[in-house]
């Protein structure tokens, strides 16, 4: 963990005792925009067995605080039958590890734990080692067993040979074998167990090296100066305003990118504050209070149908009852606790960048674009940052450090100020969602109609768009072009990545049904519009917003029909795993089966209620249901979440305690976003610039009791776990508030002011 000096894979392997040199950088043409990148098809690209029998493994999926480093180490240890402490995992380094694109979207488990990539490399290696042992021992492979890196005869353990003796320090020279058998979950002794997180002792004692702690010789400190308003451009800079201040090395300008480099961090900060620059006025922002109307009316749009059975209008006109509702979601921010940081060393046409980016290979390409270098001359080394929850400032600050280092020819460290982190990050999406439901005489839903607007500008930079984040844009790169499209084309296949399609419809496209429900008449139309702010994936991007709308709306319909919310959901679901998490959560919560609102819900004082919500995350990546119990303090409008009961099914569980940690954290993150998080701005600039103006739930807040029900499915594919719980919490809390009070909140966050206003309207 103390790897400060960049090391090539060749050097690394030399020092680690192995001779694996088959891995080579893929030619540029191989790169694609695929999330999982162009990874190696060679065993040697993924692992090596060292002379002492220990294993070094390489992964393109990085630790973000979610426990993936430990879980992947367990995977390697399990598949190769070696102890966890004999595995050293190297993650995300463009000169050492396979290209697995971006670590995001809760896709790490599906990518590396199913029958591909890291898991497959390990399975291929184990079979190869067994074949080698069979030859060495003169016994058939099926009479051999392996334990702790030693292969022996099942009937005579004295006939044995170790991995180190078989291949230690040598290459496998093997292509990944798709027929290689992974160890069945029933035989797991390492995966599926609560192995403690490997980094925690170092983190808890201040020994762990984050990207923020990287220090290289001759390093300087940079500070950037962002525009004063959205749309401002740089007119002039008075370098004399800071030249001569203690430690100041250089003022750096590249188009609208402006920064200062100094010998010490405090000197850089003071110089940045004193630097005189003239900027054009901003281009103006829509009124905060009118953002949702602004989105609804903004042109042009990019329209997409996820499903369209083309009979929705007809079904709605024949329905016994039609209900409609509109839901609103604000811009929210990642708001990483450590403002983003990177160190770059750009000299002699080569660059090394220590970065907490989720995407080292894509970052290599875009850093090269920003610096005007060839990608092969850029080396990105992942160092863990503070939790990112998606596209935070990790990429943008990597460009900041690279640009400043290039200008001074020495290594430069940049850590953003709190304000620069918050005012310019790629926010989570605001949403406006209109929905209509028609029911028949039995109260069964017969048609579901959805139309939504959400804003977009920039995104992850990917392979070609440094202008998708603020620094690249300021340095002269445009964000990815907005591709207007209307009308929306008919869908060609069913996908529910954004959870725009509610759980209760069949998801039928071209005769194939990929959804989880029974309702056949369905239309889901999403309209993207250009955002005034940068946007990007924030934990459960669009999935949370859509699930809030769907899971609130089905509750409204159930209440109108005086049906129990659990029973009404189950009536319209077809997917048994989704039904099982609904049943699991409601059973564990001792769900009181009755319609909402609660009988005797009264005005004044504290009123209690319960609500439920569920999702199949991304349409195929983890099932989750949560029951929320709340107290609504009607005099103040304060909502206290008292209890959350989460049932989760992500297939085979790699590490039950790690999974619980993710579910608990995700659920509380959901509570914070539901009750208090909202980006604000005035007519020129963002005004959520610190922890007084953007207020998450502090550690000392009243914390709900959180219970988790883990449904283990050893034979199902592995799914993601980091973003399921956060997806369902907003709707469950809204439904619980309705149960307690009879008021329906359709706009997040549920602030005391909004609760009081809603109570006032009906009180």
């Amino acid at each position: 963990m103390n790897c400060i000096n960049p090391i090539s894979r060749r050097t690394f392997l030399k020092t680690s005792g192995a001779l694996v040199v088959t891995f080579s950088l893929a030619p540029e043409s191989v790169f694609s925009q695929r999330l999982d990148g162009a990874s190696s098809n060679q065993v040697d690209g993924w692992l090596s067995v060292n002379a002492d029998g220990s294993v070094t493994a390489f992964t393109g999926k990085c630790e973000l605080g979610h426990g993936l480093y430990t879980a992947q180490t367990q995977l390697v240890a399990e598949e190769l039958s070696v102890p966890v402490n004999r595995v050293k995992l190297i993650q995300c380094d463009t000169e050492i590890t396979p290209d697995q694109g971006t670590t995001s979207g809760a896709q790490s488990h599906p990518t590396n734990f199913n029958h591909g990539s890291l898991a497959l490399a390990c399975a291929t290696a184990r079979e190869a080692l067994t074949r080698l042992a069979a030859t060495r021992l003169g016994l058939p492979a099926d009479r051999l067993g392996v334990k702790d890196g030693v292969i022996s005869a099942k009937t005579d353990p004295s006939q044995k040979v170790s991995y180190g003796e078989l291949i230690g320090g040598k290459k496998f020279n093997l292509t990944l074998d798709t027929r290689a058998k992974r160890k069945p979950a029933a035989e797991w002794t390492i995966l599926g167990t609560p192995v403690p997180r490997i980094e925690i002792p170092a983190m808890a004692t201040g020994e762990f090296e984050y990207v923020h702690n990287v220090r290289v010789p001759a390093m300087l400190y940079g500070q950037v100066v962002r525009p004063p308003a959205v749309g401002s451009t740089l007119v002039s800079v008075d370098e004399n305003s800071v030249i001569g201040l203690p430690g100041v090395v250089k003022v750096v300008v590249k188009k609208n990118f402006l920064g200062v480099v100094a010998e010490k961090p405090w000197q850089a900060i003071q110089a940045a504050n004193k630097l005189k620059a003239v900027w054009t006025p901003g281009t103006g922002l829509p009124k905060h209070s009118e953002i949702h109307d602004y989105l609804r009316n903004k042109k042009p749009t990019r329209d997409t149908y996820a499903v369209n059975s083309k009979d929705v209008d007809e079904k709605l006109s024949s329905a016994v009852k039609v209900m409609k509702s509109t839901y609103f979601y604000p811009y929210q921010m990642h708001g990483s606790i450590g403002s983003s940081c990177a160190v770059a060393d750009v000299q002699n046409g080569k660059a090394t960048v220590w970065s907490a980016s989720q995407a080292v290979y894509p970052l290599r390409n875009t850093v090269a674009m920003v610096l005007g270098l060839q990608p092969e001359n850029v080396h990105i080394i992942f160092k863990m940052g503070s939790g990112c929850y998606g596209c935070n400032g990790a990429d943008t600050v990597s460009y900041d450090a690279a640009l400043l280092s290039q200008a001074v020819g020495r290594p430069v460290r940049v850590q953003l100020t709190r304000k620069d982190e918050m005012a310019w990050e790629n926010y989570g999406l605001a949403f406006v969602i209109d929905q209509r439901i028609g029911v028949d005489e039995n109260g069964t839903i017969i048609a579901w109609d959805y139309e939504a607007w959400s804003p977009t500008l920039g995104n992850r930079p990917g392979m070609t768009n440094p202008g998708n984040v603020v620094t690249g844009f300021l340095a002269g790169f445009p964000p990815a072009a907005f591709a207007a499209r209307t009308p929306a084309p008919d869908p060609t296949n069913f996908a529910n990545n954004n959870n725009a399609v509610p759980s209760y419809v069949t998801g039928t496209v071209n005769g194939n049904s990929g959804g989880t429900g029974n309702v056949r008449s369905q239309r889901v139309l999403s309209r993207d519009v250009v955002s005034p702010f940068w946007t990007g994936p924030l934990r459960s991007p669009a999935r949370l917003q859509n699930t809030f709308a769907h899971e609130s709306f089905i509750d409204e319909v159930a209440a109108e029909l005086k049906a129990d919310p659990v029973e009404y959901r189950l009536r319209h679901l077809s997917d048994t795993r989704l039904m099982d998490v609904v049943k699991g959560a409601s059973k564990a919560a001792n769900w009181d089966s009755r319609p909402s609102p609660r009988n005797g819900a009264r005005r004044g004082g504290i009123s209690s209620g319960r609500g439920i919500a569920c999702v199949l995350y991304e349409g195929d990546n983890g099932y989750c249901a949560v029951v929320a119990e709340v107290d609504v303090h009607q005099d103040t409008g304060r909502v206290a979440v008292k209890r959350l009961v989460i049932a989760n099914d992500v297939g085979p569980i790699s590490n039950p305690d790690g999974l619980r940690n993710q579910l608990e954290g995700g659920a509380l993150h959901g509570v914070s976003r539901t009750l208090s998080e909202e980006v604000t701005w005035d007519d020129q600039k963002v005004t959520s610039i610190d922890w007084r103006t953007y207020r998450p739930l502090p550690v000392g807040a009243e914390i709900p009791k959180i219970e988790t029900v883990l449904i283990n499915r050893p034979d199902a594919p592995a799914a993601g776990a980091g973003e399921t719980a956060v997806t369902v919490v907003a709707a469950a809390i809204g439904n619980a508030i309705f149960d307690a009070t009879g008021i329906r909140l359709r706009q997040v966050p549920f602030t005391p002011e909004r609760v009081k206003a809603a109570l006032g309207k009906i009180g």
């Binding site: 605080g65 002792p201 983190m203 808890a204 004692t205 606790i337 939790g387 709190r418 502090p698």
Partner: protein
């Protein structure tokens, strides 16, 4: 610039620094300590917390000149991964960490409180942590770890 004597984790350092520099930069850049971290630079989140004279102090808004000569303890001053302090051990045992960036705020604030008041109530703990942030929202486990440590202190 002026010479300032700092006592950090039992070691004495003589440093030639701008006396207005916030203590955090001296700790993390001049002394290369990894425990206290820059989270906000505004004293609002807790990531930079150290203990001075028994108090949890936010080093990002504390001029280094104001703590010259005082004993300063950082997260790494409590214990090591080989020999963690009991409060660190409680966090390890409870696996009360996700990204871990906020731990100086949570651990140092709780330790200062419990050193001062070993019988601190749940409400006292809550109050002490009301200005400490963890964006991974590991709150449940953190509070459990603090209470586990508090039990040991009382016993």
């Amino acid at each position: 610039m002026s010479m300032i004597t700092l006592k950090v984790n039992g070691r004495t350092h003589m440093l030639d620094v701008d006396p207005a520099t916030p203590l955090l930069y001296i700790l993390s850049d001049d002394l290369a300590l990894r425990g206290p971290k820059f989270g906000c630079g505004l004293g609002q989140c807790g990531c930079c917390t150290v203990i001075i004279k028994g108090q949890a102090v936010r080093s990002c808004v504390t001029p280094v000149s104001s703590v010259a000569g005082a004993e300063i303890t950082t997260l790494e001053g409590l214990g090591s991964s080989a020999k963690p302090h009991p409060i660190q051990k409680a966090f390890i045992d409870e696996q009360a960490v996700q990204c871990g960036f906020c731990l100086s705020g949570v651990i140092m604030t709780a330790k200062a409180l419990l050193d001062r008041n070993p019988k601190a109530s749940d409400a006292d703990i809550q109050q002490a942590l009301s200005g400490v942030l963890c964006r991974c929202h590991t709150h449940t486990r953190m509070v459990r770890a603090i209470k586990r440590y508090a039990q040991g202190v009382k016993a």
